[in-house]
């Protein structure tokens, strides 16, 4: 039998980068096909070509035997190819129904559409209210909107880009149920991920990309997570080294920290309390949009709270701004590298000055001490292996991994008492990610308290001493990371903090 989608020798180059080179693979009718690879392996470019957002430089595609070269997403959708984006293409200020109508070639009138949305979404176990504003929905529910938008057009091929990165384990199960139902109905699914366990559970076949090329194909169920990871990275994963952790005195303590939400669609922080000891790494897990950004802003000092809510080494600093906190030793590295942690259009040395000024006294009488700033910048670049033509280079011109190393290095080299990082390895290649994690562990070993906010559970399990979950603006009480299982974490992520691990295990059995 002919495949649904046949990719034959597709290549695509950008200035300086070969994103895809001679890619060939097939997606059969009614299969869930995994597209696997590290960040930067060329998965995104490939699916953008299938969805018509990018034209291939070379090669051909065939859909159900016919030539397939979509001029744009509209053409792709007309031929039965639909896509759920990793960063949703949704409009917050519009309703669910309006959002769905925008993704359809020829939407029915309002009332009929609302009716259809209700029917389809219930049928596939993804209930939705058509008249609600998307901005008011949780991340998981927003994904449903994307999926229902695709389903309403009865697609032949559904492309899903990292769909579970924003879901709780329970929501993931629900999604898998929907996808299996679709498969049964003959819909093919191209499933992009780098989460190996999911792929082994769900997918029939897998194509593995590295450096823009297909390097392997396999049947995931017959492989181990380790062997697939080997194909992805090209070498075996080193087992994480267990760090010995000697807790010191309490370095940072939060007591009843609350923060109202900002803007129409923000999250409020509610009654957050914990103690962080010197030398300890506290991992904070949680699905995006549960208050991670707000927690970082409250800790960095960009948003103020009542004075006593935050204490650093016993000193109440909740009402102080970023620079007072830096002087006291509380440093932070926000998630968004471009525009928040760093100013993209400014040079590396200016970006080093951006946070280094207070603690390293890089300005005197208001005047910049250029030589000292440059010295500090060179130290960050050298010690953290930041690949850059020089320190005059704009921050925005660095690759994600290099800029992230710069951002982390800039804070680590200021010898903080406490460092807070949000998503330290998001969108960073494996090598840089490992370097960053190692530097955070070294920092803790040297006696600093470290808070790592991340959505990557594997990462947190690897480096954390204590573990806690942020859900809907509340933080679960931290507990030792050793001995936690994924089931218990899943329950914590759903917001059920008081359930003991044993109970959780029984409940799911």
């Amino acid at each position: 039998m002919k495949p649904l989608l046949a990719i034959d020798g597709v290549s695509k180059s950008y200035p300086g980068v070969k994103a895809n080179a001679d890619v060939r693979f097939n997606v059969d009718f009614g299969e869930i096909h995994a597209l696997l690879g590290e960040n930067g392996a060329g998965k995104s470019t490939l699916v953008k070509m299938i969805y018509g957002l990018v034209r291939p430089d070379e090669g051909t595609m065939r859909l159900a035997g016919d030539d397939y070269a979509p001029a744009g997403p509209v053409a792709a959708r007309a031929q039965g190819v639909a896509m759920v984006f990793q960063h949703f293409s949704l409009f917050e200020a519009l309703t669910v129904a309006e959002n769905i109508a925008l993704g359809m070639a020829d939407p029915p009138p309002r009332r009929a559409l609302s009716q259809q949305i209700r029917e389809i979404s219930t049928e596939y176990g993804l209930p939705l209210e058509p008249e609600r504003l998307v901005g008011d929905l949780s991340v998981g529910t927003r994904q449903r909107v994307e999926i229902v938008r695709c389903l309403l057009q009865s697609p032949r091929l559904l492309i899903m880009d990292e769909p579970t990165s924003v879901l709780t384990p329970q929501e993931v199960e629900q999604l898998f149920g929907t996808l299996r139902k679709l498969r049964k109905e003959g819909v093919s699914i191209l499933y992009i991920s780098h989460k190996l366990d999911e792929i082994r559970q769900l997918c029939d076949h897998a194509t593995i990309l590295r450096g823009g090329r297909v390097v392997a194909t396999c049947t995931p169920a017959q492989e181990t997570a380790r062997s697939i990871a080997g194909m992805m990275i090209g070498q075996d994963l080193a087992a994480p080294s267990q760090r010995s952790f000697q807790p010191g005195d309490v370095a940072l303590s939060l007591r009843g920290l609350s923060l109202p939400s900002e803007g129409t669609f923000g999250v409020a922080l509610r009654d957050i309390s914990f103690d962080l000891r010197a030398g300890e790494i506290l991992g904070i897990a949680g699905v995006a949009g549960n208050g991670q950004d707000e927690l970082l802003l409250a800790l960095s000092g960009e948003r103020r709270v009542a004075r006593g809510m935050i204490r650093l080494n016993g000193r109440a600093i909740g009402d102080r701004g970023p620079n007072t906190r830096r002087r006291a030793g509380l440093l932070a590295a926000p998630e968004e590298r471009l525009g928040h942690a760093a100013a993209p259009a400014m040079s590396l040395w200016e970006n080093a000055f951006l946070t280094g000024r207070v603690r390293l006294i890089l300005a005197g009488g208001g005047f910049l001490r250029k030589a000292m700033i440059q010295g500090f910048t060179k130290r960050v670049v050298g010690d953290f292996d930041v690949r850059t033509p020089g320190i005059e280079t704009r921050a925005g011109a660095l690759s994600g991994g290099n800029l992230q190393k710069f951002v982390i290095g800039r804070e680590v080299l200021q010898s903080p008492a406490v460092l807070v990082v949000n998503q330290p390895t998001w969108g960073v290649d494996a090598r840089a990610a490992a370097q960053i994690r190692a530097s955070l562990q070294d920092l803790a070993s040297a006696g600093a308290g470290v808070i790592v906010i991340s959505q990557d559970l594997d990462e947190l399990m690897e480096i954390s001493d204590a573990f806690s979950v942020l859900a809907n603006g509340r933080l679960s009480p931290p507990r030792p990371a050793l001995g936690l299982d994924i089931e218990a974490i899943g329950r914590m992520m759903g917001g059920a903090f008081d359930v003991e691990p044993a109970e959780a295990a029984r409940a799911s059995a």
């Binding site: 053409a75 959708r77 200020a93 925008l102």
Partner: protein, 319 residues
């Protein structure tokens, strides 16, 4: 002071006429902003509309030709802005300002031969029976066609934005241009169209100013009307019907202060020993604009709810 010289019916009629240029300019700018573009060149487009409309009407003897020329002039000059902002990705604030400065100069240049002449008369419509009704007729049925057209445009824009697919797409582009692009909508093209529409509306408003409201051509005759139109869009929190309300409010302030000046209000104040001068009354429209801006903007959540999320941000299609 003789307040009895102020006739409420005439006041309302004056208000509606004074509001019409603002109405056109503001409803056009609303559409532009809904598509995610901030065009601060309304003043420049209006005055170009005023001079083009005046020149065309004087030369052809037909006010209708004048209005068409005003709209065309406004739309044409708005395309300079559109090209700079959408193709050359220039800063929208700076480019809008440049458009205003350029428009004021160009209008003065075009308008030189037309200073001090009278435009052709523009007939008010006469609806049998209705126009002859005592108060009601004077209140609602004795205006020119363009004024009714202005109110109709507000209704049409509302209908377009809320009841048509094209309007939904336009709002989507203003809300999240990256998402709209990834769904396959032509962001730049839609914005070109919106800016052109905004320009045509501002041009019509300007033409109404020089052909009906004043009616003559003088340099700089818009006197900030374009800027007030921008404020009305904020006041309206990007809702078409509230643009109508806003325009009438500002029209009302303008007419009221003119009536007060004429009524001997000032000499009455002066007789009380208050050093009143006409200039202070003339400040009223501008001060009311500021006041209204403050009142609307202070309620941040409400202001943000309808403001297009991509307003003023440059769009580049990545990869």
């Amino acid at each position: 002071m003789d307040l009895s010289t102020i006739d409420p019916v005439a006041l309302f009629a004056g208000l509606v006429v004074a509001a019409t240029p603002l109405l056109f300019a503001a409803i056009g700018e609303l559409v532009v902003e809904k598509s995610g573009v901030l065009n601060l060149g309304v003043e420049g487009m209006m005055i170009i509309g005023a001079v083009c409309g005046f020149a065309a009407a004087s030369n052809s003897g037909s006010p209708v030709v004048g209005f068409l020329a005003g709209a065309a002039g406004g739309a044409a000059i708005s395309m300079i802005f559109a090209v700079l902002v959408l193709v050359f990705l220039s800063n929208q604030v700076a480019t809008g300002l440049a458009l205003t400065l350029f428009g004021l100069g160009l209008a003065a240049l075009i308008g030189q031969p037309y200073t001090g002449i009278k435009p052709p008369d523009f007939e008010e419509v006469h609806v049998p029976v209705l126009s002859d009704l005592p108060v009601l007729g004077e209140l609602f049925f004795q205006y020119d066609l363009v004024l009714y057209f202005g109110v109709a445009v507000v209704a049409l824009v509302w209908l377009f934005l809320n009841r048509t697919r094209a309007g939904l797409v336009l709002r989507a582009v203003g809300e999240n241009h990256d998402a709209a692009h990834s769904l396959g909508y032509p962001v730049v093209l839609i914005r070109f169209a919106a800016i052109g529409f905004g320009g045509a509306c501002a041009g019509l408003g300007g033409a109404y100013l020089s052909l009906v409201r004043v009616p003559q051509w003088t340099e700089g005759m818009t006197a900030g009307a374009g800027w007030i139109a921008l404020a009305i869009v904020v006041f309206a929190t990007w809702k078409p019907w509230r643009v109508l309300l806003g325009a009438w409010l500002f029209g009302g302030v303008t007419i009221l202060q003119l009536n007060l000046q004429a009524s001997g209000f000032l000499s009455w104040l002066q007789s009380l020993g208050i050093p009143a001068q006409a200039q202070y009354l003339s400040m009223a429209p501008y001060l009311v604009t500021i006041l209204v801006l403050v009142l609307i903007s202070a309620d941040r959540t409400r202001a943000r709810l309808n403001a297009p999320a991509c307003l003023g941000r440059a769009f580049t299609a990545a990869g």
